[in-house]
């Protein structure tokens, strides 16, 4: 369960800060299953933005504006009314492709995860898809995924518990590394080769205002949808 293998809490807070900043100014952000870190980040962005972006958390009763059933998120994306979504994967590769399905050859997997969810659809229809992993390592960040649940595109972000990447000219490049890491330690923990983006540096930490929101109104929502995660942050 990719989104729930947890890094240390302080690393998660850095991730939440990075993602919340990426969401600033957007109109509508949705968060899918097994995505506690993006859920926290989206809620922080909403609180700091005075209610904008609108945040739709699947599986939440209190933070889900949809009233037309399970299809509405997908229809909404196809209408151009969803600005950002989040994807993780058992594997993420150098091109930003994600694999949610399993390991082995497509059609003859030797291990199967939960399934594709809406990733193959949302990845191609939502303008800002943010990739995330909370356990950056050589087995999760690979040169090439075994199964392409969704391919990558230039401009796509990957946020992990060690670093931030963005795709340019077909491959992910290192944009920043979190406190305690260096480009070297990130490289050693990553299963694909990468270049460092111009101007790369240390990832800014979670802002004080954001941290306050996270302890306040955001936590209440998280407790409903991701109780184990909320307990870890608290």
């Amino acid at each position: 369960m990719p989104g729930c293998v947890m890094a240390e809490p302080e690393r998660l807070l850095v991730m939440i800060g990075v993602i919340a900043r990426l969401l600033t100014g957007l109109g509508h952000v949705a968060v899918g299953a097994s995505s506690p870190v993006p859920a926290a980040a989206a809620l922080v962005a909403r609180e700091l933005g005075g209610g904008r972006p609108t945040v739709s958390i699947l599986g939440s009763e209190s933070s889900n504006p949809f009233t037309d059933g399970g299809r509405e998120l997908f229809d909404c994306a196809a209408q151009g009314r969803l600005d950002a979504f989040f994807l993780s994967g058992a594997q993420i590769d150098a091109t930003g492709a994600v694999n949610l399905l399993g390991l082995g050859e497509p059609g003859r997997l030797r291990r199967r995860f939960m399934g594709s969810f809406g990733a193959p659809y949302l990845a191609s229809l939502v303008p800002n898809v943010i990739l995330f992993r909370t356990d950056h390592g050589v087995r999760t960040l690979v040169e090439k995924v075994d199964f392409v649940t969704a391919p990558g595109v230039d401009g796509r972000w990957l946020v992990t518990d060690r670093a931030v990447f963005r795709r340019a000219a077909g491959r992910l490049r290192l944009v920043s590394w979190h406190a305690g890491e260096t480009p070297g330690t990130v490289r050693a923990a990553t299963g694909f080769a990468f270049e460092t983006a111009p101007g790369a540096g240390e990832t800014p930490g979670l802002e004080t205002a954001a941290a306050a929101e996270l302890r306040g109104p955001v936590e209440a929502v998280l407790r409903e949808v991701y109780p184990a995660f909320a307990a870890q942050l608290a």
Partner: protein
């Protein structure tokens, strides 16, 4: 029209295609228990659009031949353990899908057409796992297009808060259940309570109600969605779910856990 969960389970024959809601929608665990009790076999499950505890219990009890779903899991508790074991053993076939493809297939059935075009998805290896999906130029745009076939389940089974004597069932915002009721040939429902009021007589209720027209039988089953919970009524029993997730990892403890659950209910 009212019945018992055991009667609902008796209506679903071995080998039927059965659409089931994920844990956050309306799950009729009360009927799942009866399907296991009666030793149902060869069921083909369709996730709306994913599957959760209901599917894992049925798989653990040997009731399932195959599933079509966008995902199967126990949510925050991780992989569905009985499914995982059955999949490794090759005991359950999986028709891999993605949420909007299942919604589109049900919508095609709702509208009596053979298929629906589906946006996105092209570029995913998923397309290669579905020989029944069709790739070709969109006849209106000339761009690459994807067509997915109708999904018409034999049965839809779910649990809801309120039904009435006429067989109308209030589902609130869980509208995927209405889509599935339109698409399925027959719909079986358990409810917390049967109200004296006509759910269609007041627009406030009617707006979230599946008309009896689509509902074959309704059974009263208080707490019928436990342990996964029912929106607006009661939450999940997290201790039960964690105990199941642990016990279900091994066949022997899984069987003992389910046997105890059958005895208790």
């Amino acid at each position: 029209m009212t019945a018992t969960p055991a009667e609902l389970a008796g209506v679903i024959p071995d080998g039927a295609t059965l659409a089931l809601a994920p844990d956050y929608s309306g799950c009729s665990l009360a009927t799942i228990r009866e399907l296991i009790r009666r030793g149902a076999r060869g069921l083909h499950l369709v996730g709306l659009p994913q599957l959760g505890l209901q599917a894992d219990l049925l798989i653990a009890a040997g009731c399932v031949a195959g599933i079509e779903t966008a995902a199967i899991s126990l949510g925050e508790l991780g992989l569905a353990p009985a499914f995982d074991r059955a999949w490794r053993a090759g005991d359950v076939t999986v028709t891999e899908s993605t949420c909007p493809a299942i919604h589109a297939g049900l919508t095609a059935a709702e509208k009596g057409v053979s298929h629906l075009p589906l946006a996105g998805v092209i570029g995913s290896d998923l397309v290669g796992l579905r020989p029944d999906w069709r790739l070709g130029p969109d006849p209106f745009t000339g761009e690459p297009g994807l067509l997915v076939p109708a999904i018409r389940p034999d049965f839809l089974l779910f649990h809801a808060a309120v039904g009435d004597k006429a067989g109308n069932v209030w589902i609130g915002v869980r509208r995927e259940l209405m889509l599935a009721a339109h698409a399925a040939r027959r719909t079986l429902v358990t409810v917390e309570e049967i109200t004296e009021q006509d759910l269609l007589s007041d627009d406030l209720w009617a707006a979230g109600t599946i008309p009896a027209l689509y509902v074959e039988r309704v059974a009263r089953a208080p707490a019928g969605a436990a342990p996964v919970g029912l929106r607006g009524r009661y939450g999940p029993d997290r201790a039960w779910l964690a105990a199941y997730a642990e016990a279900a990892r091994e066949p022997a403890t899984c069987k003992a856990f389910i046997d105890a659950w059958l005895r208790d209910g």
